[in-house]
Subunit: 310 residues, 2 copies
């Protein structure tokens, strides 16, 4: 039995325009590193967090809470220590809390020789998300744990479908350095939407899923439309409309808000276009004078990766 | 150049539970026959309708109106006669008007050596649907013309996606002999729906499309849920809840209203189950004492079929 594991845990993009609250995908080159160690003392201890100022107390840390949810379903007489190298900035909108929650349960499960299946791990990780945002949503933890694109078909019972990812699909993400709280972004949403717009939304979900299965990049692009969240949430992101326009002009298939923002994602076919899209995005924020991080990444088909195990 | 064509035009199921206004599929053993003949006289003439009492005047007949919409985009100095053997009962909810509209334009296009593509044919056929119900919807004409399952991703521009159909997918349809007008069924729908239920709806659309691509019958079944139309429209169909329950008990993957009713469809894996489902459906209406037609059919992957051409 292994006693120590080092893993890469991907950042994730939730919603993906039309897929509000149900779709997400994982990134390949953006993510945290976590070290998980089996120890004789029961329970979970967060020993170190590098890169961000986050609470070490188990009950206040999303990784800790998620790990405890898993441990509660076991009768192990040992525990785990967790160390986090936090590269994904909290509040960036690319699944920072989800990565910590997902990584903790995935790593522990590996050291427990895989006794839980991936959907069960999502359920545990959702407890971390609940601590982070008040809502036990799965649209970031699911792609982090499954890899690729994921669809949350149902929460009750939890039913997650892994959707195939075309090989040349690339994401470009820009994170303007402004703060949007998930709870605030959620408040902007209306409780009701018109049947007419809802129908357009699910037509596009159908189109996007279809495009992903059939490697139809053009269809993927046509389907990246959001009638629900983007019209209201984009008002919280300075320059959003310019970024979107300039991305499409640069050849992106589509562009939208990552999660509840402020990060903006674009999908492109091929790395060359993804790089052009990055330049286009940067130019907008350079002009406005807002600092940013930028990421260019393949869609990560695998999810969490083992860096070392012993 | 051929001058005469005889075709089979399939009945169709629109909506398909979660896919309100965007999804539909074609049937294989239920449909009309149409004969289309090139004649020297310009324009469209409906020469005969067998099986139903429908108007022969071109402008009052959906096939006539659809055919005229096509002809208006040509500069032919000849015309066409249309003869219809109408097996699909008007008002049954399995695309009776759509079959006439779709068949007319498909047949004429064949005699014109295919100068219009299938999406253009849908556009013409929608003019017939507009005459029939006041709304130029495409969710029956699209599967009739494309075959299999179709997704209307967008109306403006018209964007129709053909979705693959698993080989063993069978439909059972019961048509209780009661009348529901499409316009009445549409009035029952609310203009707004809750974001929460809309989200469930598009999650299921994603699940259904995914199931169809991946031959995952169980996922297809889990996704056949409708939070929008079925809760209100099912009240117009006596026995609906009993039919649904008994279908599922008999092994159907799922069950819902075909179009705006009154027909009820169920999908099953394999003919044996589809037959059991038919018996279960019949038993409900036998007990209530409502007469019915019943159809058991493969999903028709091809769409309209040529029976004879010369």
């Amino acid at each position: 039995m292994n006693t120590e594991i080092k893993i890469f845990v991907p950042a994730t993009v939730a919603n993906v325009s039309c897929g509000f609250d149900v779709l997400g995908f994982a990134l390949d080159t953006v993510g945290d590193e976590m070290m998980i160690r089996k120890v004789s003392q029961k329970g979970i201890k967060i020993t170190k967090i590098i890169g961000q100022d986050l609470p070490l107390e188990t009950h206040k840390n999303v990784a800790g809470v998620a790990a405890l949810a898993l441990l509660a379903k076991t009768d192990t007489n040992f525990g785990f220590e967790i160390e986090i190298i936090k590269n994904i900035k909290p509040g960036s909108g690319i699944g920072s809390s989800a990565a910590s929650s997902a990584g903790a349960v995935w790593g522990i499960n590996k050291l427990l020789e895989g006794r839980f299946n991936t959907t069960e791990l999502v359920q545990f990780a959702m407890e971390g998300e609940k601590l982070a945002s008040g809502v036990a949503h799965a649209d970031n933890v699911a792609p982090a744990l499954f890899g690729g694109f994921t669809l949350i078909r149902s929460y009750n019972p939890l039913d997650i479908i892994k959707i195939p990812t075309p090989n040349e699909l690339m994401a470009t993400i820009i994170h303007p350095q402004i703060e949007i709280k998930t709870a605030d972004a959620r408040k902007l949403l209306k409780e009701n939407i018109s049947l007419k717009e809802a129908t357009k939304q699910w037509a596009n979900v159908g189109g996007l899923i279809s495009g992903l299965y059939s490697n139809n990049y053009n269809l993927i692009g046509r389907s990246l439309q959001d009638y629900v969240a983007e019209p209201v949430r984009s008002t919280l992101i300075p320059g959003f409309n310019d970024v979107k326009k300039t991305c499409i002009d640069a050849g992106a298939l589509g562009c939208g808000i990552s999660g509840s923002g402020p990060s903006i994602f674009a999908l492109s076919k091929g790395e060359k276009t993804a790089l052009k899209v990055a330049e286009a995005m940067k130019a907008v924020y350079d002009k406005i004078g807002i600092e940013y991080d930028i990421h260019i990444s393949k869609v990560n088909k695998q999810g969490i990766k083992i860096l070392d195990i012993k």
